[in-house]
């Protein structure tokens, strides 16, 4: 714009010089016109500025990774003057990241009409994507002046992480624990509750024969015991990873891991908890995942988490919040593992405890090669230590869980 102003001054100087050197009345008028023109342009700009409206809309609030999120900018110009130069300043970020990125969009709008600018955004990583329309700037026809208007229009869209069924997870290896909740779908071995009574089939055990009903009905009837379905498994997430690492990449991998395991459990009709440490509030939150709706609730909760780089308290806080509970599997998923976490994990009342560490291949190699490090400690504490390459979550999970 400064360049345009200098050009205009040069033009003014040339016309002024011509008006001086050549004695023509109209040349002076042209010179005076050129002097007055910028003021007129500014007045016109003010008029347009007072009438223009810019809005941001989006119809998509949830998308998967690499799926387009169409963002629409609607610019309304009710004036009779077209707007050839309009500069819109927007920012966008993934809430997991602290970096806010800026984007400038140039637009033009015809007089007395509206323009829609649709741009598609997509994210490589999971998270809440926030797009903020900061301001827009209108320029006059000669680009000598501009007026800026601040806006505060925010749009939020959730990008879900990728998750899949882990074939290797077998639901039948669970050990039954006492529970007051029973599965309505399948029978188990808990004699305290009868799941259903049915006719005898070959192979049924004689101890299961309901003698009273059999005499009454004059045919053999078998009682099926219930299967207690209290949450035997818990997936505890610690959004912790080393400082300097690619935040989004790590979180994305952690979420992929968590949700894949949870999804698999869901498919296996295995109710479980997903719990996480909310560093902002200093408490642990958990969601009981039994249906798909619960799963998405958990996803929503996870997407709103804030990551952190040192984790010493998360397990302690959880144990303090839920002290008496027992689990079949306590799966602790983290991006930055330390020995203290292993020790705390060992205190949990679970039959099996697993720590899944998602990290860079180099670090994993280092851990694997370090015989006196985490692996040894985990073994001594009775914790299954599973290092997972963040670039190959599925492969490593399937491998280790098989």
């Amino acid at each position: 714009m400064l360049r345009n102003k200098l050009r205009y001054l040069l033009l003014l100087a040339i016309v002024g010089l011509l008006a001086i050197l050549y004695d023509a009345y109209y040349l002076w008028i042209i010179f005076v016109t050129l002097l007055a023109l910028p003021f007129f342009m500014f007045a016109m700009l003010c008029y347009i500025y007072g009438h223009i409206r810019v809005e941001m809309l989006s119809t998509v609030h949830v998308a998967g990774k690499d799926e387009p999120i169409p963002v629409t900018l609607q610019i309304k110009n009710p004036t009779i003057f077209p707007i050839p130069y309009l500069r819109i300043n927007a920012t966008y970020r993934n809430l997991y990241s602290s970096n806010e990125l800026a984007k400038v969009i140039f637009a033009s709008v015809e007089s007395g009409s509206s323009s829609k600018i649709i741009c598609n955004m997509s994210s490589n990583y999971a998270g809440n994507i926030v797009i903020n329309l900061k301001s827009y700037r209108i320029y006059d026809y000669l680009k000598l002046f501009s007026l800026k208007k601040k806006l505060d229009c925010t749009l939020k869209a959730a990008v879900l992480p990728r998750y899949y069924e882990l074939e290797a997870i077998d639901s039948t290896y669970k050990i039954t624990v006492e529970s007051d909740n029973y599965s309505p779908y399948k029978s188990g071995d808990d004699p305290s509750e009868v799941h259903e009574i049915r006719e005898y089939r070959e192979g049924d055990r004689p101890q299961r024969i309901h003698w009273k009903l059999s005499i009454k009905l004059d045919r053999l009837m078998i009682k099926e015991f219930s299967d207690p379905i209290d949450c035997l498994d818990i997936i505890f997430i610690s959004l912790c990873f080393p400082d300097g690492a690619n935040t989004l990449y790590h979180i994305d991998s952690i979420l992929e891991c968590v949700l894949s395991i949870s999804y698999t459990f869901l498919l296996r009709r295995n109710p479980h908890y997903i719990a996480w440490y909310d560093a902002a509030g200093g408490i642990c939150r958990r969601v009981r995942v039994e249906h798909e709706k619960d799963f998405y609730d958990a996803v929503d909760g996870l997407l709103n988490l804030k990551p952190y780089h040192t984790d010493n308290d998360s397990l302690m806080v959880y144990l303090a919040q839920f002290p008496q509970e027992q689990y079949t599997d306590f799966i602790y998923i983290t991006g930055g593992a330390v020995v203290s976490q292993l020790e705390k994990l060992a205190y949990t009342k679970a039959i099996d405890r697993q720590m899944i560490l998602l990290s860079e291949p180099e670090l994993i190699e280092q851990i694997q090669s370090d015989e006196d490090g985490l692996r040894k400690t985990a073994m001594e504490l009775g914790v299954d230590f599973l290092p997972v390459d963040i670039g190959n979550v599925k492969r490593d999970l399937e491998l280790f869980l098989a």
């Binding site: 016109t33 007055a36 637009a107 009409s113 600018i117 741009c119 994210s123 026809y141």
Partner: protein, 856 residues
């Protein structure tokens, strides 16, 4: 809406194109189309009309207009059919070229006719002699028309294409403004309606040129074109509207009434038109650091050089050809006249005085101007037989080195018959169009040796004249003179004022002549003439320092002091600058038959006199009631009244007292005719050499060899040397990168394939750093570059990239050498990438990238 580059930042990807859905009407509306057509027609018509106006070829205007219409129609039809653009263009150009070839002779003749018109205009305006082309004027109309038609076709085509498609806008705008520039350069102002139309069309075009040509989508480009079309239309309309509103507010009458604007314009015009290349080179050559306080001889339009010494180099300023009789007693050529003293210069009238003069001129008849006052009186005197000889003499003055801003003319020149003369009120005249020579007709009325005789004679004429109108007009003018030419600066000059008040009380002057005589005596007695008076200390007044402290000065000092003293005595007076030629100067500097000069009985014929810089002089004009302005020279040892002292004498080392007024001219040795032809020029040269000022002592005792190295030839040599040094330095600066690149090329040719591959990759990395904004210092891994290339550039083929990177890795880390085909693969990837990148970039960024690659 603009094309947006693909960006992948923090995992977020913004798609590389935007879709603009215009909720209004699509396509150019009827009104917009009409405006577009109007812009094309008006732009073409105005541009070609200005061309015809500037270069008045005898072409048929109707044919040109018809060509405009037809060309526009054809181009519109072709543009509306979107396909086969290359084919259409090819055939159009082919037909044009074929037609051009078939009528080449006629077009060539037309071209020469046009060239001759241009040359004629240039010669007339710039007063140069170029020479014409040979052309056949028997068919001038037909050939000129044909030429104009051939010019019109491409011009109209370009304007139409630019307006319809938005392409070639910049070049079209330049072409449309070329005739405007040409007309101004030839000293013509195009008619108002032509110029306005042209400007309006150009304004419309310039907005079209901002069409997003880098937008890949055709539909989007069309939408943008529509918006910019309307923008251009609005801008043109607003400008036109403002123009007419301004015209309403500032009418031509009120514009002409703004005296200050006219004065300022005239002053600036005069100053600007006086600047030549010589002035600029002289300015460079003569530039001195502040401690140098000398000026070269000559005149400076009233500026009182506050310097310590004046130098002469004998450079020729004017060359006059005049009747011997009129110049035998010497001649004064009047140039600049100043009426107001500012302390360090004499300037023209104040704004109030200018307004008063304008009012006075309205009262005076059209053919009466104060500058010709004495001619009027002389005719009255001649009619009364009081003046016997009122012959009109002729003098041709040729400018060699003198300032062309002023007309150096003898007393009393009749300017009324001269063309292109501007009157600077009643002060002096300037040329309307500067030339290298002027011919003046003048009345040799004033006896510069005895101005009092002239006063006496003209006073008698005045009182005898029966011209009542002369009395009336002279009285009106006299009132103005008494008001304007007795004014002194409001502040300062206290010492001079008190001195003059005292003198007035003591002397009890009766007449103007007494006052003049007193001032002359006072100056002669109390001051000395010197070309090296020393610098005026800061805070001191120029005249007061001369009169009361330093008491040493040259003609400007004397003239300025005399004017101020006269004004304090109540006598209207003004400061004059010009050139004077004394009889000894004529003898020394003239070319011609010297014997004619020396023989008073044979004062017939014309003589050519060379006027040098040391002939520059300042004197005073005093107004005598009823008569007008009479020149009076107050400088002792100067003027033609003091012929014993030539310029040579004035430049002697010692400061001498001026000779008495009655000194006779120094006799010059008479030469015979035999010697005359052989030795005339030689003598002139010798005497010119001796004329050069020798070392003079400045007040502080420092001496200066004025002659050595300060002649015109040496000054020219200095200029040439400086220019040569500047050119040499520039060449070195330009050659360095070229030499560097040559050296690098030679080294690269000898380098191994591995080195070449790594080198190419390094260049590519540099480009990637610029595009991504990464720091050059930060180490970036090969993988990072590869990822960046893969993610940020759609056009990069993965396979090619993989091959490229593998070869680079092999070149960098491998033990073996890469083969020629691998190097070729690297080269082709690199070249393809750079080419694609540069084609998508704005021009400035492209240049930057190329520069970086060149320097790297």
């Amino acid at each position: 809406m603009v094309y947006m580059k693909k960006e992948y930042r923090e995992g977020l990807l913004i798609n590389n194109s935007l879709l603009v859905e215009d909720l209004g009407n699509t396509g150019l509306s009827l009104l917009a189309r009409l405006f577009q057509l109007l812009a094309i027609m008006v732009g073409s018509w105005s541009c070609l009309s200005i061309l015809l106006y500037s270069i008045p070829v005898p072409a048929r205007v109707a044919a040109v207009h018809l060509t405009i219409l037809l060309t526009f129609a054809v181009v519109c039809i072709l543009c509306l059919i979107p396909s086969f653009t290359a084919v259409k263009l090819f055939f159009c150009i082919l037909f044009y070229i074929l037609f051009f070839i078939s009528r080449f002779k006629a077009i060539e003749n037309g071209f020469y006719i046009m060239e001759n018109e241009v040359i004629s205009s240039i010669e007339q305006y710039y007063d140069v002699n170029i020479g014409f082309y040979v052309a056949d004027y028997r068919t001038e109309v037909a050939d000129s028309t044909l030429l104009m038609v051939m010019i019109s076709i491409p011009v109209v085509s370009m304007i139409s294409i630019a307006a319809i498609t938005g392409k070639l806008v910049k070049i079209t705008s330049v072409i449309m403004l070329l005739p405007v520039a040409a007309s101004f350069l030839l000293g013509l102002t195009p008619p108002e309606h032509y110029l306005l139309s042209c400007i309006a069309s150009v304004l419309y075009m310039t907005r079209l040129g901002l069409n997003g040509s880098n937008v890949p989508d055709c539909e989007q480009r069309g939408k943008l074109h529509k918006i910019y079309s309307w923008t251009g239309a609005w801008l043109s309309l607003i400008c036109l509207l403002l123009f007419f509103i301004m015209k309403l507010f500032i009418s031509e009458e009120s514009y002409n009434g703004f005296t200050s604007i006219h004065n300022m314009r005239t002053d600036i015009q005069t100053k600007l038109s006086g600047i030549t290349l010589e002035d600029i080179t002289d300015g460079i050559v003569n530039y001195r650091l502040p401690e140098f306080n000398s000026t070269k001889g000559g005149l400076d339009g009233g500026a009182l050089g506050r310097t310590g010494k004046v130098e002469y180099d004998g450079s020729e300023q004017l060359r006059i050809v005049a009747d011997i009789r009129s110049v035998w007693d010497g001649v004064y050529l009047k140039g600049f006249v100043g009426s107001n003293y500012t302390g360090d210069r004499w300037v023209g009238h104040t704004d109030d005085d200018t307004d008063d003069f304008r009012a006075l001129m309205e009262e005076l008849p059209e053919d009466y101007h104060p500058i010709h006052q004495m001619i009027e009186l002389a005719y009255n005197g001649w009619g009364e037989n009081l003046i016997r000889d009122l012959a009109l003499r002729r003098m041709e003055v040729e400018y060699v080195g003198a300032n062309k801003r002023f007309l150096y003319s003898p007393y009393i020149t009749d300017f009324s018959e001269m063309d292109n003369i501007n009157y600077k009120q009643d002060l002096y005249t300037t040329p309307g169009r500067r030339r290298s020579s002027y011919t003046y007709e003048y009345y040799d009325l004033i006896d510069m040796m005895r101005p009092e005789e002239t006063v006496r004679l003209m006073t008698a004429v005045y009182y005898s004249t029966l011209d009542d109108e002369y009395f009336k007009y002279e009285r009106l003018y006299r009132n103005f003179v008494e008001q304007a030419y007795t004014r002194l600066p409001e502040e300062g000059l206290e010492q001079l004022r008190s001195h003059c008040r005292r003198v007035m009380k003591e002397q009890q002057f009766v007449s103007t002549e007494e006052k003049i005589a007193y001032i002359r005596n006072y100056l002669r007695s109390n001051t000395s003439y010197s070309l090296t008076p020393g610098k005026v200390p800061p805070g001191k007044d120029y005249v007061e320092y001369f009169l009361f402290e330093n008491k040493v000065g040259y003609c400007s000092h004397y003239a300025s002091a005399a004017v101020l003293m006269l004004r304090l005595f109540g006598v209207p007076a003004r400061y004059v600058e010009g050139y004077t030629v004394s009889p000894s100067d004529i003898a020394i500097n003239s070319t011609g038959e010297l014997s004619l000069l020396m023989n008073e009985n044979n004062l017939n014929g014309e003589i050519v006199i060379s006027i040098k810089d040391y002939n520059a002089h300042a004197w005073v004009e005093v107004y005598f009631d009823g008569i007008g302005w009479i020149p009076v020279d107050f400088t002792p040892s100067s003027g033609i009244g003091y012929n014993a002292y030539s310029r040579q004498t004035l430049n002697q080392p010692t400061v001498t007292t001026p000779p008495p007024k009655e000194a006779t001219p120094t006799p010059v040795t008479e030469k015979t005719d035999e010697d005359k032809d052989d030795t005339e020029n030689k003598d002139n040269e010798e005497k010119e050499i001796t004329q050069k000022p020798e070392a003079t002592k400045t007040p502080d005792g420092a001496s200066k060899a004025a002659a050595g190295g300060s002649g015109p030839q040496s000054r020219q040599n200095d200029t040439v040397k400086r220019i040569a040094v500047i050119l040499l330095v520039l060449s070195l600066i330009l050659c360095l990168p070229v030499a560097y690149n040559i050296r690098r090329y030679i080294l690269l040719r000898r380098a191994s394939n591995n080195y070449k591959a790594i080198y190419l990759f390094a260049k590519l990395e540099r480009v990637l750093n610029i595009m991504s904004g990464r720091s050059f210092k930060k180490r970036i891994e090969l993988e990072d570059n590869e990822n960046y290339l893969r993610q940020s550039f759609d056009f990069v083929d993965d396979l090619a990239l993989e091959g490229f990177m593998n070869t680079v890795r092999k070149a960098r880390y491998g033990r073996g050498r890469i083969s020629g085909s691998e190097l070729q693969q690297v080269k082709s990837f690199y070249n393809g990438f750079i080419k694609k990148i540069c084609s998508d970039m704005p021009f400035s960024r492209k240049i930057l990238i190329k520069l970086i690659l060149l320097i790297n």
